[in-house]
Symmetry: C2
Subunit: 136 residues, 2 copies
DNA sequence: GTTGACCTTACCCTGATGGCAAGCTTTAGC
DNA sequence: GCTAAAGCTTGCCATCAGGGTAAGGTCAAC
């Protein structure tokens, strides 16, 4: 056993360093993404550099739009030396498909809405192509 | 006063005709989008053709992604003969901007995620560019 | 020793539904 | 007329990923 020099930080520091909020970190612990953090005698959570790395990983994955459940799976794969990159890629492509579908839905909305807006003169008269379009 | 022949339907029929669910219709009533529906002696909600038209309007607006609050404003404008199409157009363009921003965010996610997925060979080995990318 | 910054838990709020339960009403079949 | 099914009612809980607030304990600086 080697005695590592570990720098421990409280949740506020961890939040600053990872770009998360303290609330989110507690939430992730509660959700089971992280092992329960060690505490000081006073009950303050303490994080070492490995845990900070895990939190950064979560932050990155959330930024890419992965759900908490997906992040949980990603974390499991990340921590598992027996993983295959195939599993990871499958997860990523599944999420990619979800994103593409959302983009398509939003673009469809955008298209229709843009057409309606373009056909509305936007003056002081009550006649309005947008409302007419919604009525159809 | 002319006595109009009005066809009245219960909430299930209204749901079928508008593509909404009965639950949504009750929710919209609760949220103040619609006047409280008349009831039969037994307490069943009844909808006439004008109310069905309003429900269809709501359905269309929701399909275009307007929030309930925005639909409420749209309904107010729709019902107000003194409206100006300018007000409607402004609301629509505001929503259009929100959609465009969401699309941009999702496309940014998509781009990064696609790059990660492309650089992951997806084989049986543990080495994985996606996990490496998330770790950074 | 006090003040202010930081931490703790617990609870309610968001948006737009879905689901379920318990109970009443109406309709259809026999 | 009786019964079963379908339809309606309200009310409460769950979702998802947190934010807000309250009430209280802790720590560091001055």
């Amino acid at each position: 056993m080697s005695k590592m020099m570990t720098t421990l930080v409280t949740i506020g520091q961890a939040a600053k360093q990872t770009g998360l909020s303290a609330k989110m970190i507690r939430h992730y612990e509660e959700a089971g993404l992280l092992k329960k953090a060690n505490r000081t005698d006073a009950g303050y959570r303490l994080y070492n550099s490995q845990q900070l790395q895990q939190l950064s990983f979560i932050k990155q994955a959330r930024t890419l739009g992965f759900s908490i459940a997906q992040v949980s799976s990603l974390l499991d794969l990340w921590r598992n030396p027996q993983r295959s990159s195939k599993e990871v890629k499958q997860l990523a492509e599944q999420h990619l498909d979800e994103i593409k579908q959302k983009v398509a839905e939003l673009q469809q909305m955008q298209k229709v809405l843009q057409q309606l807006a373009d056909s509305c003169c936007g003056d002081d008269q009550p006649q309005c192509a947008i409302l007419d379009g919604l009525q159809k």
